[in-house]
């Protein structure tokens, strides 16, 4: 088996054939068997296979992009399940972006945040309030709802609002560390939700528990974005931007500072790293991804209410990060995709199937035991297994490997050699 794998690893042509075949087969099976969720998931997992190939990054991005932009939507588009597939794919994208945001805070900077969904809520409400007539209640000027064209601006506004609150939360919270930080952020997450739940009086800003209905759909060149298949592309574009941003930050001065703070705060400070500023930046950048996706979420659901932003959501996003591998971008993407698909497709499909069986009188499963209701239970078991057998996650974080040839300098040493000679003489004299 090992031998066999290494042969494939060395042979790029073989890899190309395998991945090509895999994509074609899964594409065709999805195309022909529209109702097969399995085919849809198999086509998606071609991306995972692609990750393990040894092609250059550019080639991987091109193939992956082609699968996501063209093949997947096209193969799914032939049947009635099209929109539900795209709905799942869109939500996967939203959760991946959020998990990548949380990964910066938890995985890179090492700050445990249990209230991360608050930033998602902030983004969602930012667009929700101004894209419904709600804003008329308290805004002294302007006509609301704003048109769907404003959505594109709101992606950035949502990003900024979330980042701003990330900083505002961070300033008092970063005085505490470790477990205390987790408790305080947990509190923050709940406070934001409760504020949104109750901010319908004295001035009606969020419409309380009733939520905000009929949010304006995004509009571009006179086309309204109404269907998941259209949102899919919005999410895809944002997600790719987010992945690029995270990758670049991770291996930059800023990312190194985050990791240094995670590894040892005192040493990080001794290296000249401004502790508070570094942590605040982690909070702000992480939150901003979440805020952007909140705006998209509000527009996609056309309805925003506080029940979408409970503690369970925060925990779910954290599970994605831990399951995938803290600090590892590919890991977190995989973790987020797995958890979302498990939630939305596998568990619901299982429930449907069991319901079908009990309807036909084959077996009788009590309603309380239906898989869709056991989400937390299943998460719990998964987490325990991972804590025991794979604590670094599915795809553990990897350090960058540097190329020695690039590092070796041809232009001379730290100090030129003549000085070095003098120095050794100097030492002799001292002795």
């Amino acid at each position: 088996m090992k031998n066999w794998l290494s042969t494939i690893q060395q042979n790029k042509r073989l890899q190309a054939i395998i991945i090509g075949l895999y994509i074609v087969v899964t594409f065709l099976s999805l195309y022909l068997a529209q109702k097969s969720v399995v085919a849809f998931l198999l086509l998606l997992s071609s991306l995972l296979l692609l990750y393990f190939t040894t092609f250059s990054n550019r080639v991987k991005w091109l193939i992956g992009g082609f699968v996501l932009v063209v093949l997947l939507p096209f193969a799914a588009s032939q049947g009635e399940a099209y929109q539900s597939y795209m709905e799942v794919a869109t939500l996967v994208g939203i959760y991946i972006a959020m998990a990548l945001g949380l990964n910066i805070v938890v995985g890179l900077a090492g700050l445990l945040d249990l209230g991360f969904v608050a930033f998602f809520a902030l983004g969602a409400y930012t667009y929700g309030i101004f894209a419904t007539s709600q804003a008329n209640n308290f805004m002294p000027f302007g006509q609301y709802p704003l048109s769907g064209e404003s959505f594109w601006v709101f992606i950035f506004i949502g990003c900024l609002v979330a980042a701003l609150f990330g900083v505002l939360l961070g300033i008092p919270v970063l005085r505490v560390k470790g477990d205390y930080l987790a408790i305080v952020t947990l509190g923050f997450g709940e406070i934001i939700r409760i504020i949104f739940n109750n901010l319908d009086k004295p001035v009606n800003i969020t419409n309380g528990a009733m939520g905000l209905a009929s949010v304006q759909p995004p509009r571009l060149f006179g086309i309204d974005f109404m269907y998941p298949s259209q949102f899919y592309y919005i999410v895809l574009v944002i997600l790719i931007a987010v992945i690029f941003a995270v990758r670049r930050l991770e291996f930059s001065k800023i990312g190194r500072a985050w990791k240094a703070v995670r590894e040892n705060e005192i040493a990080a400070q001794a290296m000249g790293i401004h502790l508070v500023r570094t942590k605040l930046m982690a909070f702000a950048v992480g939150a901003s991804f979440s805020g952007m996706m909140g705006v998209v979420f509000a527009a996609k659901q056309t309805f925003v209410d506080p029940t979408s932003f409970t503690l369970l959501e925060s925990i779910t996003i954290l599970v994605m990060v831990i399951l995938g591998g803290m600090g590892s971008v590919p890991g977190v993407i995989l973790g987020a995709a797995l958890v979302t698909i498990l939630n939305l497709q596998v568990l619901t499909e299982l429930t449907n199937w069991l319901n079908q069986l009990s309807l036909n009188g084959v077996i009788n499963v009590p309603d309380a035991l239906s898989p869709a209701k056991m989400q937390r239970f299943i998460f719990g078991i998964i987490l325990i297994f991972f804590a025991l057998y794979r604590p670094q996650g599915l795809l553990p974080a990897k350090n960058p490997a540097f190329d020695e040839d690039e590092l070796k300098n041809t232009e001379g040493n730290l100090v030129n050699t003549s000085v070095q000679k003098e120095a050794t003489q100097h030492v002799h004299l001292d002795r």
Binding site: R248, A270, I273, L407, V415, V419, H426
Partner: protein, 259 residues
Amino acid sequence: MSILTVKNLTKQFGGLVANSNINMEVQKGSITAVIGPNGAGKTTFFNMVTGVYQPTSGEILLNNESIVGLKPHQVTKKGIARTFQNIRLFGAITVLENVMIGMHNHLHGGLFSTILNLPRVRKEEKEARKEAYRLLEYVGLESFFNEEARNLPYGAQRKLEIARALATKPKVLLLDEPAAGMNPKETSELTKLIYNMRAELDLTIVLIEHDMKLVMEISEHIVVLDHGEKIAEGTPDEIRNNEKVIEAYLGKGAATTAS
């Protein structure tokens, strides 16, 4: 010329006086050792100079400019770097990146220029990698550059701490027990390295060390602390024959028996 001046420095933790009225001057370009029995307050002294602790009273001047009240990262910016007694490397990160973290204040890539991957940032990163590698060569760790720092042998970890401190481009380097846990061969390499750094990198070095052979061999000036107070200072020869020092290390009566 004195580069680092300490005046009446006192630190109290509640009722415990860790450092009391310490005065000292460190000459530019010198190698100064701070010695004393365990619990004498040597590391507390270092922690005050680097801003980890704030002194209860007293003054610390770097080039005649007070650095009391500055945060550790600001002290580093002013030009004081340090290593730690209990090694504090960034364990899960590669050796090369550990050194690059030391360059933090000399790199200028901001948030947006990094996300946009501007050519200026790319160039700076490339230069930083080369520079870090040169520093590793300087301390003799270049073969480990892609290893995780926590996997290095003990002596190498101590050297990496030095390389990392050098990356901040300090004027004064504080070494907290650099030879602790090293074998004689490693210690003699370290001695050479300390000499070389002083001569070639225009550094002033202050070190805490228990290895008396190293201390006596390397330092031009020695300050002895005991119970938080300075009990003696002078050249190695003066210290070797100082009764108070012998008493502090060996107990009362030892001085008279020895002489």
